[in-house]
């Protein structure tokens, strides 16, 4: 039972984490290759606080606020760059984060932080807490998507310049997406730290950032259900691959490649194609643009 609970909790954390990036990359169209840094900020914040005696639930707000604040700074910086430059800048953020953490003795440096206290209620308590928060976040995402915010995000994701000509304050909305998304990652980080109970710089490196981005893209950019399913699958996949442990990364890497090659719109896009049954002309035009 304990093993299943760990797998389930991991899965839920991955979903929460992936949805937080879905807000930035999926809804608002801003690529981030450094999202794991914000998972890390939340994890470190929360771990330091619970080690100082705070209850886990009380660390959620600080973890979100600090991740969101740093997210705002990164977001403000990212406003200056676009497209590929944005991808590389956010990749830089990822390396910068681990680089800085490694040199901070206060945060455990290379060694990381061990002995993070267990959550109230142990594994069951953490699982329930994670379940509630993940569901809550998904509800918020659904709400955002249907509100004017989702409407505006959709236009920014498709064409920033046109959105600007329509009178949308593109910068403010992008910044808002960064703050919300990174705060969400901070929350996921707080849960993650108390799930694994040991964190180090390597838990939040570039590969983790790529992993979460691939969850969003395999799920289908902007699709809430697609990303949920992709995050669930990709997060448990390493457990299945235990059998073929030696080839884990090989399979994972090839999976990413084949997903992009044969399913560039992701699971969400696949579902959409079945549902809408649009004529093939319009869909081929879309992919060319």
């Amino acid at each position: 039972m304990a093993y299943e609970m760990i797998v389930l909790t991991n899965m839920l954390i991955a979903i929460l984490f992936a949805q937080s990036l879905n807000l930035i990359t999926g809804f608002c169209g801003q690529v981030s290759l450094g999202h794991a840094a914000f998972l890390g900020i939340g994890a470190y914040t929360s771990a330091m606080l619970t080690k100082a005696g705070w209850p886990l639930a009380a660390t959620f707000i600080p973890a979100m606020v600090i991740a969101g604040m740093i997210g705002m700074i990164v977001g403000a910086a990212s406003l200056r760059v676009r497209h590929d430059f944005l991808a590389i800048t956010t990749m830089g953020v990822s390396f910068l984060f681990t680089g800085i953490i490694r040199k901070q003795d206060m945060l455990g440096g290379e060694m990381g932080i061990a002995g993070i206290p267990a959550a109230y209620g142990g594994r069951v308590g953490l699982l329930l807490m994670t379940l509630c928060l993940t569901i809550l976040f998904i509800i918020i995402m659904i709400y955002v998507k249907r509100s004017w915010m989702g409407y505006v995000f959709e236009s920014i994701a498709e064409d920033e310049d046109t959105a600007g000509v329509l009178g949308i304050d593109v910068r403010r909305f992008k910044l808002f997406a960064f703050v919300l998304g990174t705060a969400g990652a901070g929350l996921a980080g707080a849960l993650y730290a108390h799930q694994v109970r040991f964190i180090g710089p390597d838990s939040f490196g570039f590969v983790e950032s790529v992993t979460v981005l691939s969850m969003v893209i395999v799920g289908g950019i902007g699709s809430i259900w697609g990303v949920t399913i992709a995050a669930a699958l990709l997060s448990v996949m390493p457990q299945f691959f235990q059998v073929i442990d030696d080839y884990k990364l090989l399979v994972y890497g090839m999976l990413l490649f084949f997903a992009m090659r044969f399913m560039p719109d992701g699971l969400g896009g696949l579902a959409k194609r079945f549902r809408q049954n649009r004529n093939p002309d319009s869909s081929s035009e879309r992919s060319q643009a």
């Binding site: 409407y151 310049d161 009178g167 403010r172 879309r286």
Partner: protein, 255 residues
């Protein structure tokens, strides 16, 4: 809006110069737009028409000069501020949002404050009010039958009208139309020109950049001509087209 009446001009462009890498693409442009006026803006290819239009709306920063919108100096304002102070642009290269119906394309532009404040955008869900406005505007431009269609399903002529409807949804004081007739058939161009003729009204002036001289002559009473980035003539259509320098500028070019 009584304060606005102190200035009779909706838009006053004073000596605007735009420089690209040492070259003056627009050099000392001067034009004025009155309330309820349709101003034609013509010039041969490469005259810097679109560049000036982009400088007016704020997509480019002029190196010198002033732009006054309804008595307020907006020279240093960002694009989004200018749009929200009452300008709108229908772009030459139409850019509909492909994943939305025409109705939603237009309704978005009617969003008002919700386009400026993320908080307001998050609080509001209903698009009913904006869709009603959009429905009215799409009817006005003759697209009432296509409101639930996606842009990919429609020909260029329809999308040009969509572009105009979207600009109108901003309820602009100054509406800039960048070559709305380009690429249309003769019949379509004629219909579009008729539509444009009806756009100026109390509180709204329209600037029409256009290559199609016969339609411009038909619908605009006032013309501004630019050549090689410099203002060439400004005044009543018939007088302007009589001028030697204007005819010279167009001579040798087709039309």
């Amino acid at each position: 809006m009584t304060a606005a009446k102190t200035s009779p001009l909706l838009l006053d462009v004073k000596n605007v110069t735009v420089t690209f890498g040492g070259l003056n693409a627009v050099d000392g442009a001067r034009l004025a737009l009155e309330d309820n006026q349709l101003l034609g803006f013509i010039g041969p290819n490469g005259a810097g028409k679109t560049t000036l239009m982009r400088a007016i709306i704020g997509m480019l920063t002029p190196s010198s000069g002033q732009i006054i919108l309804d008595g307020q100096d907006i020279s240093n304002r960002r694009l989004v501020d200018r749009i929200n102070l009452g300008m709108a642009l229908a772009q030459q290269i139409i850019k509909p949002l492909k994943d939305m119906t025409l109705l939603d394309n237009v309704a978005l532009a009617a969003g008002g404050n919700k386009l400026l404040s993320p908080i307001k955008a998050m609080i509001h869900r209903s698009r009913q009010h904006e869709q009603d406005i959009a429905h009215g505007l799409l009817t006005e431009v003759g697209l009432a039958d296509a409101i639930y269609k996606y842009p990919a399903e429609l020909p260029l002529g329809f999308l040009k009208r969509l572009e105009v409807a979207r600009a109108l949804a901003r309820q602009p004081k100054v509406l800039l139309l960048d070559e709305p007739l380009a690429g249309l058939s003769i019949k379509e161009a004629e219909d579009m020109a008729d539509l444009i003729m009806g756009l100026p009204c109390k509180g709204r002036g329209v600037i029409l950049i256009e290559h199609n001289l016969s339609q411009v002559r038909r619908i605009c009473k006032t013309l501004y001509v630019q050549n090689n980035g410099r203002p060439l003539a400004f005044g009543a259509t018939d007088d302007v087209l009589e001028k030697r320098e204007v005819q010279m500028a167009y001579l040798g070019k087709s039309e």
